[in-house]
Each structure stands twice: as C-alpha cells, then as structure tokens.
C-alpha cells in the first residue's frame, strides 16, 4: 500500500467533507484550548504553592503585658515558649521580634502614611515569635499547641489567606476542565458524525474495496487519518490560541502581579507543558472516536 495513494484519498475526503471538517476542527480546538488552560492553571497552582510554601510563617503573638514586661525575652515564660517551639519537630526555625522591633517595622512599613503611624502606640503592639515550618500545612498543630498558653495572645498564620487564593485557583481550574470535558464530548460526537458522513459519501469506494479484498485496516485507514489530521489541526489551533492568550492577555494583566513575586512567572515552559499533553490527547481522542465509529456504525 502506497502512502501517496492513501494520502490522496485522505485529501479528497477532507475536500468533499469540508464544512463538517471545519466544524470538527473548531470544536476540537476550543475543547483542547480550554483543557490546556486548565492544565496551565493547575501547574500555576502547584508552583504558587511551592513559591509560597517557603515563605509561610506562623506568628505567635505574645500578650501586651508579656511584651512590655520582658522586652528581651529573658524571662521564664518567654524562654519556656521559645524552648517549646525549638523542641517541636514541625518547626524549622524561630526568630523573636520584640515590641520595639515590631514598632520600628511598623514605622518602616507605613512611612508614607502618617495617619497610620498616628493611630498606633508602641505599647499596643505585641512581641512575636516568627516560626518557619518544615511542612507549612502543619500550621494547625502549632496553633493548637500554643493557643492559650501563658503569655500567648494568639497564633496567626498566612496560610489561611493562601488557602483562599489556592481554592480560587482550583475553582478556576476545575471550571476550565469541566467545560473542556463537555466540549471534548461534543468534539467526539462531531468526529463520529464526520466519519459517518465521510464513509457514507464514499460508500462506493468502500464497497469496492471490500469486494476486491482490501483488508479492514486498509479500508479504515483513510478515515482515521482524516480524523486524526483534523484533530491535529485542532490541537495546533488550541496551542496557537494559548500562545496568543499569553501574549495579549496574561502578560499584560498578570505582568505586574508576577513582577511583585505574588505569582510565579508564566513563561514558555507552561505552553510546552500544555502542548506536551494536548498533542497526544488530540491524536488519541480523534483516532479512537473514528475507530469506534467505524466499528460500530459503518460496514466496511
């Protein structure tokens, strides 16, 4: 069987069936584009978690009385807390910030906003233990152990805020993937329909092939190549769409957030990662849909 002969059959088939092919390509492109978007958001979530994981600290605030009476943390209560923290296997490191240091930091932070400085007195601020954890997700264990201990005002953690960010990112990803799955289902139906129409419009060819003893595989091959070709064009459009979206949309809107370090940089590796999955998914999706349709509906 010559490749050129099969290829010319495929081209003829695509030309004859052009409107259906275009519909299928566009639906595949949209569904795979959304899937790619979902994959990128998933990767972004993971990398954001890693980015923040190192920075997350638990803050153990001391009571105002404790902060004022023992500014250098030399008393028994403060030393006891410090030793407990250092002895805890979940804790990677501990640093102590006195009331004075907290006030100085406050002054630095709000140097340009005198009204903020005016409303705070040094005596109202707490001395703080800043605790880095081995596993940031073990925050609650520290919180349970230290909340209510003598000298402790409260235990605070940034991971609660981060959880909200992550759940937002997860929701965006889930919505994108759900829509992608529905679209993929529509794409599979369209591929099936395209193959049925193609087989119907070429039933004279296929009936002759059957009669002269062409193998089933040989008879099906042009239809499957057509479907996979259309699927690959859909994949290419989906990847192109993601590239355009990155250049025109993501870079402009998220550029400033990324430059502040709140989000990891969304670079070309994200597109490579998405393409790495989209190309095989596109090929398998269209090839399998075509094969199943030929087996189920088309007598060859």
């Amino acid at each position: 069987m010559r490749a050129g002969f099969v290829f010319s059959e495929v081209l003829t088939g695509l030309r004859r069936n052009v409107t259906m092919t275009i519909a299928m390509i566009l639906t595949t492109a949209i569904s795979l584009g959304l899937l790619g978007f979902g994959l990128i958001v998933a990767k972004l979530t993971d990398e954001t978690r890693t980015l923040y994981g190192d920075k997350v600290q638990v803050q153990v605030y001391l009571t105002v009385d404790q902060s004022r009476s023992d500014p250098d943390c030399t008393g028994a209560v403060c030393q006891g807390l410090l030793e407990d923290l250092r002895g805890n296997p979940d804790v990677a490191s501990v640093s102590y910030e006195s009331q004075e240091a907290a006030y100085q930091r406050y002054l630095r932070t709000f140097a340009s906003q005198p009204e903020m400085i005016a409303i705070v007195r040094k005596e109202a601020l707490s001395a703080t233990f800043r605790v880095s954890l081995v596993d940031p997700q073990r925050f609650r264990v520290i919180s349970q152990d230290f909340t209510g201990k003598p000298g402790v005002l409260s235990v605070d953690d940034q991971s609660e805020v981060l959880d909200k960010v992550f759940s937002l990112l997860n929701s965006v990803r889930n919505v994108a993937i759900t829509i992608a799955l529905i679209q993929a289902f529509a794409a599979v139906l369209l591929i099936s329909n395209m193959v049925q129409v193609a087989a119907l419009s070429r039933r004279t060819e296929t009936s002759i092939m059957r009669l002269v003893g062409a193998s089933r595989w040989r008879t099906q091959l042009p239809f499957m190549i057509e479907a996979v070709f259309a699927g690959l064009v859909g994949v290419a459009l989906a990847i192109l769409g993601l590239v355009v979206a990155k250049l025109t949309f993501v870079d402009k809107i998220f550029g400033s957030i990324i430059s502040t370090g709140l989000l990891p940089p969304i670079d070309g590796t994200y597109l490579v990662f998405a393409s790495y999955w989209l190309i095989p998914i596109g090929i398998v999706l269209s090839g399998a849909a075509a094969y199943a349709t030929l087996r189920a509906y088309v007598r060859l």
């Binding site: 069987m1 010559r2 002969f5 003829t12 004279t204 060819e205 009936s207 002759i208 092939m209 059957r210 009669l211 002269v212 003893g213 062409a214 193998s215 089933r216 040989r218 008879t219």
Partner: protein, 229 residues
C-alpha cells in the same frame, strides 16, 4: 470450485427462507448461469459465495476453502481470489478508466510498477485500449461494464461472479459483454452469472441452474432459459 451442500439461508425479516437446502457443485473452468425470478435466491447465493453473509445451515466451499471455518480476518484474502461484476457497474466517477482498474490493485497493496504493467494488459483484453484516460461518464454503458469486468479480472481471480451484468445494456452490447465473459472463461476462470436475460442464456447453451423460491428446480449441463418464460 464451488460446492454448496444443503445450504439454507433465512432472514429475520422474512418467514420464507431465501435459500432452502440448496446443493450445487460447479467445477473449475465451468461457465454457469444462475436463473430464476426476482426473489428466487440468486443474489443470496452470490453474497454467500463472497462471504458477505453466512448461511443459516449447510456447508459452502469455494476454491478449496470452507467458508464456515474462514476467520473474519481471512475474508479479504478469500475475496482476492474472486472477481465481481454488477448490473450498475459501480465505477468510481472521479477516477479514470485506468485508475478504476488500478484501484483494485492499489487497495490490496500491489506495487506501483506491477500496476503500471498489469492494467494496460487487462484494458487491452477487454477492448478498452486507448480509453485509459477517459472518465466513466465519457463512456457508453457497454464500455463502462467492460471497465468493471477489467477491474474484476485484473487480479486474475479463480472465480468471476456476475450479478445481472447485462441488465442495463441493449441486446447488441449485451452480446459483446457475453463474448468478453466467454473469453475470460477460456483463460481458466470459472464464471457464475446470475441473469434474467433469456436471449443470452438460450444462445450460449451453457450450464443452467434454476432457482425458485430458494430451491434448485433445474440443473442442466447445456440448458435454455425455459419455455414460456
């Protein structure tokens, strides 16, 4: 070449069997007509021989191969030893004469060099030399049927099955087609032809197998179509 032993075929949609205990043997190199009114089972016999369908009962052997034991994957190889011609020609309208004939070789994977050699030879055999580049709509009905016969014969089948090959042709053209089928038969190819055409059957005086309501009612070595039909 063809051995049907007690073959029956029933369809779910009909209460009467399409074939009922049919036993027929056709030897290698024979030329046989299969006659009978519409619905008598002629086309069913051809479909069973092509293994497009399986019989409900009985045994079918074609060229030494028991079709009942033939695996699905071996059906294409079985069909490569058969050629098939139909009343409606079944040519590919967008392909030229030589492409139509070559198609039968292309799809079974014959090399291009072999196709280039074989196709002109077969076109000459069927009397279509010089018309290789024509499209089917540029040909007469008789010429189109010659293309179909060339396509059926190009793979040098052991057995040629013809289902009403002259049904769409005028008497003179039909006679030409019969001469062509006779020539093919003389190369050693067995020919089984289902037909309604009494003039042809009567003039050829070949073997006649007559079916009625799915049963063989007559099998004569040098028969005619029948009196009063």
């Amino acid at each position: 070449m063809i051995h049907l032993s007690h073959v029956s075929k029933s369809y779910k949609t009909s209460t009467r069997p399409a074939l009922d205990d049919v036993t027929v043997h056709v030897e290698k190199g024979e030329f046989a007509f299969l006659i009978g009114p519409s619905g008598s089972g002629k086309s069913t016999v051809l479909r069973l021989l092509l293994r497009e369908e399986a019989p409900t009962g009985g045994r079918i052997e074609v060229a030494g191969r028991d079709l009942g034991r033939l695996r699905r994957s071996k059906v294409p190889q079985h069909r490569r030893r058969l050629g098939c011609v139909f009343q409606d020609f079944r040519l590919l309208t967008n392909k030229t004469v030589e492409q139509n004939v070559g198609f039968a070789l292309e799809v079974i994977g014959r090399p291009r060099g072999a196709i280039r050699t074989i196709v002109p030879e077969v076109l000459e055999l069927v009397g279509l030399e010089g018309k290789a580049r024509r499209l089917p709509h540029e040909l007469s009905g008789g010429e189109q049927q010659r293309v179909a016969i060339a396509r059926a014969f190009v793979n040098r089948p052991l057995l040629l099955l013809a289902d009403e090959p002259t049904g769409n042709l005028d008497p003179d053209t039909s006679a030409d087609i019969m001469l062509l089928l006779e020539r093919i038969n003389r190369t050693g190819t067995t020919v089984l032809m289902a037909t309604h055409d009494n003039t042809i059957v009567d003039s050829m005086r070949r073997r006649v197998i007559e079916l009625q309501l799915g049963r063989v009612v007559r099998d004569e070595a040098r028969g005619v179509y029948g009196v009063g039909r």
